[in-house]
């Protein structure tokens, strides 16, 4: 490749990365296959050696993803999620506005600590079942869960893959700092989104307590949930043990800046502890088979590609281009926020974030940002943009795709246009909130 020169190397690697990116968007092949193929090509063409490619894989991220997958699967095996969702169903009393609020808030909270796809896999089928049983149109409720999973997931280091990537790869960013900087815009956005959706669909979520027939149907649905709840035999000791282990893991995350234990280690140790506690109820082989290995391979492939980009100096070039655009940090923060939001709405946000992390790292180390104490806001701009932007379209985030697929299997077809008409204002609201919040942080 020497004859092409250094910049030619960068152009070829950029072309390969864009090809992988487009391949992922077009979905003609599995995205894991595309990412791994891209990684193999850059190794084969000599842009990065095999050993360098392996070194480029961020095992802190892979370990955290693996640990969280195992932990979530353990909780699923002991049927905690089933129990929790039925409990939520009973809490709503069949009242549409309560169904909306209880499930939206629970989804947002759950997404902060579980991955978004797991959250919607638990919540969406139940909310479809509840709403259709009482003659409500489930669409508005499905949309609420999708938006809430993406917004709620933004609040923590483990809530959304972009945050896992950022939290694992950027030194100094802790579980606590994610909560400290992101919980405020997340809470504001959750409240605004819920108000906006209730206002827009007030006819559908209003209480029907003066309609006897309707109330009867909703009471019948509650009876069925109660029956399922009673049939689900989960002992108190199972609940206590699972809660204790989960709380221990959360304490581990909260204190990792003090203990200096990697989040990946905490998640893996939590999964191991859960397995030890429930060794009679959980089959290890079955559990390991449930891990989303293609996702882990997808991340590994991306890391190798990004490693090649770094190796040929492409990331330095990109960060140089960004610096040449502006030396105003606030402008740069807003550019990172909006560009990551727009890109996340249109394409998979993981490759974008994977590239942006080393770019922003280099940017932070270059003048004039190296001496700016507010330069860390760039990370929150990337996180808020990538996570909130996921709400922008039907393919913006995995939770959107999975929820729409679940809806389709139950006879509810959500079109791309319909999704945009519902999500556009909410995405704009959330990014405006994030812009104002980051601007406020910049000045104060």
């Amino acid at each position: 490749m020497d004859f092409l020169g250094a910049h030619s190397d960068q152009l070829i690697v950029l072309f390969l990365f864009v090809t992988v990116f487009v391949g992922i968007v077009l979905e003609k092949f599995d995205k894991t296959l595309i990412a791994i193929a891209g990684a193999l090509i850059v190794i084969f063409l000599g842009f990065i050696s095999f050993n360098q490619a392996i070194e480029a894989i961020d095992f802190a991220t892979i370990g955290l993803l693996l640990g969280m997958m195992l932990l979530v699967e353990c909780l699923r095996e002991i049927r905690i999620f089933e129990w929790l969702s039925l409990k939520l169903g009973l809490l709503t009393k069949g009242n549409p506005i309560l169904i909306f609020i209880v499930f939206s808030v629970s989804t947002a909270v759950a997404s902060a600590f579980l991955d978004n796809v797991t959250t919607v896999l638990i919540m969406v089928p139940l909310v479809i079942s509840i709403t259709t049983q009482i003659g409500l149109r489930p669409r508005i409720f499905i949309f609420a869960l999708i938006f809430m999973s993406n917004i709620g997931g933004t609040a923590t280091l483990i809530g959304d893959p972009p945050n896992i990537l950022i939290g694992s790869q950027v030194p100094g960013l802790t579980f606590g700092s994610f909560l400290q900087y992101l919980s405020v815009p997340v809470i504001i956005t959750i409240i605004l989104t819920m108000f906006y959706m209730i206002w827009r669909h007030k006819e559908e979520v209003q209480s029907r307590a003066t309609n006897f027939s309707w109330l009867f149907m909703s009471s019948l649905m509650l009876q069925q949930i109660r029956r399922e709840y009673n049939a689900l035999v989960i002992s108190n000791s199972t609940l206590y043990k699972a809660s204790i282990v989960f709380i221990v893991v959360l304490i581990g995350f909260f204190t990792h800046s003090i203990t200096h234990i990697e989040p990946a280690m905490i998640a893996l140790a939590g999964a191991a502890l859960m397995l030890l506690v429930f060794n009679k109820q959980i089959d290890l082989h079955h559990l390991i088979a449930k891990v989303e290995w293609p996702t882990l391979l997808f991340f590994s492939g991306l890391f190798m590609l990004v490693g090649a980009m770094e190796h040929v100096g492409l990331l330095t070039t990109i960060s140089g281009l960004l610096v040449s655009m502006t030396d105003n940090l606030l402008v740069l923060i807003i550019i990172v926020l909006w560009s990551s939001a727009i890109l996340s709405a249109l394409v998979d946000n993981i490759p974008f974030v994977a590239v942006m992390i080393p770019v922003l790292k280099q940017l932070q180390m270059s003048e004039p940002f190296i001496s700016d104490p507010k330069a860390h806001l760039l990370w929150w701009a990337l996180s808020l943009g990538a996570c909130f932007g996921g709400n922008g379209s039907m393919i913006g985030a995995s939770a959107n795709v999975v929820s729409c697929a679940i809806a389709r299997t139950r006879g509810i077809d959500i079109t791309f246009k319909e999704f945009i008409s519902e999500s556009f204002v909410i995405t704009v609201i959330s990014i405006v909130v994030a812009s104002l919040y980051l601007t406020a942080l910049y000045y104060y």
Binding site: K93, T132, Q133, I134, G135, A209, T210, N211, F212, S213, W214, L215, F216, M217, S219, L220, M221, L222, Q223, Q224, R227
Partner: protein, 328 residues
């Protein structure tokens, strides 16, 4: 009730009946009415409640397949509101509780009559699980645990049908620690010589002397009768269906299937229809009845039902009659 709500309710009832069985559904409906009365923020006067209960009664009459035991419960509520000028939400809720207790007692009575058939060792065939059959098995297990010789634990063959239905029976046997064998419902011929009693749970008995029960029952009962194995039906008399009309007796749908490259449609029926005379005895709350005794009981209940129906129809079709209710 608007047509889309009727459609939703109908779909929900069919689904709940399939999931939990007819008796459990009746219990859920009664409890749901109780909760509705409690949570209702509309007009709670007696005449308004009567109007709503009658509306609900007609909705259930419009559902297909009709669920006579639930309709009968609703008729009781409407008739009570119609007849009692002091009726209010509290007394209505008390009546609902009474209905629930009556339904429980009915099952208990059927169970106690059924246990008389297990004073000695039997080899029993089970195909479906109804509330009384579940109660019978629990009673046998309890007697065994207490060392009570009133019943002898039978050898049980479970005629395997759909995974969920057979699964329910197997789980119950496992829970009660009762021994069992499983045989495919289409391979009964291989074990039929060992059987000396068979139990089925019934959904409805109608004016055409037919019993509606789980799909697959007809062929099993025919085989059992040919082999002269006594066949018992467990069913309360609240499950009588008094309407004579040309509607399909079983919920029917066409499901698209594919086999490699071959696309085809499969006709799926929710129930089977069996002549009542094919049963040796029908175990009801009134005892072990012969088919002709069951027909007589049916005629008596039908008369009572239609007398009440006529009164309720007056309310439903005549607004003046409804407004007069408050002055009754």
């Amino acid at each position: 009730m608007e047509s889309n709500l009727l459609h939703t309710l109908n779909k929900q009832l069919v689904e709940l009946d399939r999931l939990n069985g007819a008796s459990a559904l009746a219990e859920d409906v009664a409890k749901a009415i109780d909760l509705t009365v409690e949570e209702y923020f509309g007009d709670r006067s007696r005449e308004a409640l009567l109007r709503e209960v009658v509306k609900l009664y007609h909705t259930f009459l419009s559902c297909r397949p009709r669920m006579p035991h639930i309709i009968s419960d609703l008729q009781k509520l409407a008739f009570y509101l119609y007849q009692n000028k002091d009726a209010d939400t509290e007394t209505l809720k008390r009546l609902i509780k009474t209905i629930l207790i009556e339904n429980e007692k009915r099952v208990d009575l059927i169970v106690s009559h059924a246990t008389t058939l297990f004073h000695e060792k039997k080899t029993l065939l089970l195909h479906t699980l109804s509330m009384p059959i579940k109660g019978l098995l629990e009673q046998i297990a309890e007697n065994r645990d207490n060392g009570d010789s009133a019943t002898v634990v039978p050898d049980v063959y479970i005629a395997d049908q759909s995974k969920s239905k057979s699964g329910q029976i197997i789980k119950l046997f496992d829970h009660l620690q009762l021994p069992f064998f499983v045989v495919s419902e289409f391979a009964l011929a291989h074990v039929i010589s060992k059987l000396n009693i068979a139990f089925f749970g019934g959904l409805t008995f109608n004016v055409r002397n037919e019993v509606i029960l789980a799909p697959g029952s007809t062929s099993l009962i025919s085989q059992l009768r040919m082999a002269q194995v006594p066949v018992y039906l467990c069913m309360g008399t609240n499950k009588f269906s008094f309407w004579d009309e040309e509607t399909e007796l079983a919920f029917h749908e066409r499901r698209n299937k594919s086999l490699e490259h071959i696309e085809y449609a499969k006709e799926v029926f929710s129930h089977d229809v069996v002549e009542v005379d094919l049963f040796t005895r029908i175990i009801t709350e009134s005892g072990l009845l012969t088919p002709s005794e069951l027909r007589r009981t049916f005629a008596e209940k039908q008369l009572e039902f239609y007398n009440h129906e006529r009164e309720i129809e007056k309310i439903a079709t005549d607004d003046v009659a409804l407004s007069n209710v408050s002055r009754t």
